[in-house]
Symmetry: C2
Subunit: 321 residues, 2 copies
DNA sequence: AAGCACTATGCACAAACGTGCAGAGGGGAA
DNA sequence: TTCCCCTCTGCACGTTTGTGCATAGTGCTT
């Protein structure tokens, strides 16, 4: 029966993690086999019963973190990853550590805004469970494009967040970009859309990656059929370096006068800056330009990124300061 | 060099606990041997870099905890221990789990009152490190007796707490009991004593065991040469069931008119009840009478005890309710 | 009641891990 | 410099842990 299984998992976790018994000893006490105990412990970790966190001593922390932290005044977590790994492996490891790092930040009654993209998709696959009450996951920007509704891709991400935290999920069923700004204006007056916008306005946490225009291997947005040639040309002519939740900005963090933003469904940068906790996850040095812009725009309060990118970030800063 | 060793420990901990890499893989990235990684991880756990906690889901928790929690209105942690283990083994396991349970409760700027006794001694041996700033450990009651100053025994406990949390330690260099109440009055006016008393008055956390008069194997206080025959007779004639920090109480939690308390150096029960967080650690069913008295006196806000004792606690309650 | 579908269990093997020991390295002190 | 002392390292071995697979159990349907 599943009742005693949960209870056993709790007992096993206590004995293993708090009393340093071996699984063998625990198995004898629970009158079961050692392999069952091994599985009970996996389940306990998986279900969020066991919480493992690493406090990195701010003072003695690696110099890299300290430099970024001080310069941009944000909480930074550098993920140790060998520079020799390929993009996919790096992303996977950054995503796993990001997922476990944000776990402790999620609380009951939170309204959590989540963007979509390859980074968030990877993060969503590694979330550890944590039971919360009355939390809501709200989608930050639409995901439809010219060819597909984008529903499944973005909604898979949302669903994973929702089930990890036991939260309600609010999708945002609009395209990423409207063809005409006027349509956006019209839709923004629809009550179904307004419900989502109101939730976004009350977000306590926002989680997003960054897109970078000049990435070697371009972000979803720039390659996924969301923008036509004309749009891409317009971007190139307006000094845009990247985007967060399909809202574009320049290297200095400004976004005024970028016409594409008027058709984008993501939250205006000024609105995003209102959110108390804004967690930015970045993997891969090719995102460096987008990342610099996002930091210049003060879009993040927490930054999780791989070591190589972190190093690039401070190297550059070293040259200009 | 010790600098890069700490940094390596942090990296290793992140890779092991947050990215699920094997020690072998970590060793390759850090260009060292697997066994070194194993040791780095031990060090990381040991030094409090890695924090493992078990959240027990209040709702779905074992019935035993729920019953105690509701009846006494306190946070309870039942330590799973087979009833067949002997007292020493049980104490060791309760102490280890207690030490790891109180870790997360300790914060910077805390003033932590600590009693002494076999239970606290065991707990102090299992504390996990956690860096805090400006915390103070203050001794709750004197430890001297007729034969020795009791200094080393109690001060070892205090010292272990102090070094685990990086806190200043304030000893209380007085006997456990004065021979004459007048001496206590006199001493309580000494400035050296008053400094300690003032700290005690500002405690945010108190940690203590309980003594039980009728324990099969009597507490330190009743056997350690602290009390003479006359005292023990007086106790027997006043319905005392136990003590906390050498302050005695009856089964109903009352302590008025117990003359020995006038010569005791522990905090009055009323004063102890002022402390926001009062953590009581109990191991062994023979302490049941003392424990019941302490709970009746509402001395604890948090209770950590072994399973067998917990069961006895609710069984008895089942009979009287 | 029988059948079915699904999950939990124990076994056995392979992988991962902890630790005693011997040797290497790295400061002081003479 | 040379010696000594102490700490750190890697090896090798035994222990502990994870997991594929066959089986036993459990609950639901017909």
């Amino acid at each position: 029966m599943t009742l005693s299984r949960d209870a056993d998992a709790l007992r096993a976790a206590q004995m293993y993690y708090l009393q340093d018994l071996t699984m063998d000893a625990i198995a004898r006490e629970l009158r079961t086999s050692r392999s069952t105990v091994s599985r009970l412990l996996s389940a306990a970790r998986e279900s969020g019963l066991v919480q493992i966190q690493i406090r990195n001593p701010l003072d003695t922390g690696p110099e890299l973190e300290g430099m970024i932290r001080r310069r941009y005044n944000l909480d930074v977590h550098v993920v140790p990853v060998l520079g020799t790994l390929n993009e996919a492996e790096t992303l996977d490891r950054v995503a796993m550590q990001a997922a476990r790092t944000i776990g402790p930040l999620v609380d009951s009654n939170a309204i959590i805004g989540v963007a979509w993209g390859s980074t968030l998709s990877a993060v969503s696959r590694h979330l550890t469970r944590k039971i919360t009450h009355d939390s809501v996951i709200v989608q930050l920007n639409g995901a439809g494009n010219m060819h597909t509704t984008g529903i499944t891709y973005a909604s898979d991400i949302m669903r994973r967040f929702g089930s990890a935290y036991g939260a309600r999920v609010e999708q945002f069923p609009v395209p990423a970009f409207f063809d005409h700004a006027a349509t956006k204006t019209a839709m923004w007056n629809e009550r179904s859309v307004q419900r989502v916008l109101e939730l976004q306005a009350k977000m306590s946490i926002a989680i997003f990656g960054v897109g970078s225009v000049h990435a070697d291997y371009p972000s979803h947005v720039y390659a996924g059929g969301y923008l036509d040639e004309e749009d891409l040309n317009a971007l190139a002519n307006s000094d845009v370096v990247g985007d967060v939740a399909t809202v574009f900005f320049r290297a200095d963090g400004s976004s005024d006068g970028i016409v594409l933003n008027e058709r984008s469904t993501g939250p205006a940068l000024a609105q995003l800056r209102q959110v108390r906790r804004r967690i930015c996850v970045v993997s891969g040095v090719s995102k460096i330009n987008g990342l610099r812009g996002a930091l210049a725009a003060r879009l993040a309060t927490d930054l999780i990124l791989d070591e190589a990118t972190a190093r690039r970030l401070v190297d550059y800063e070293g040259l200009t300061s």
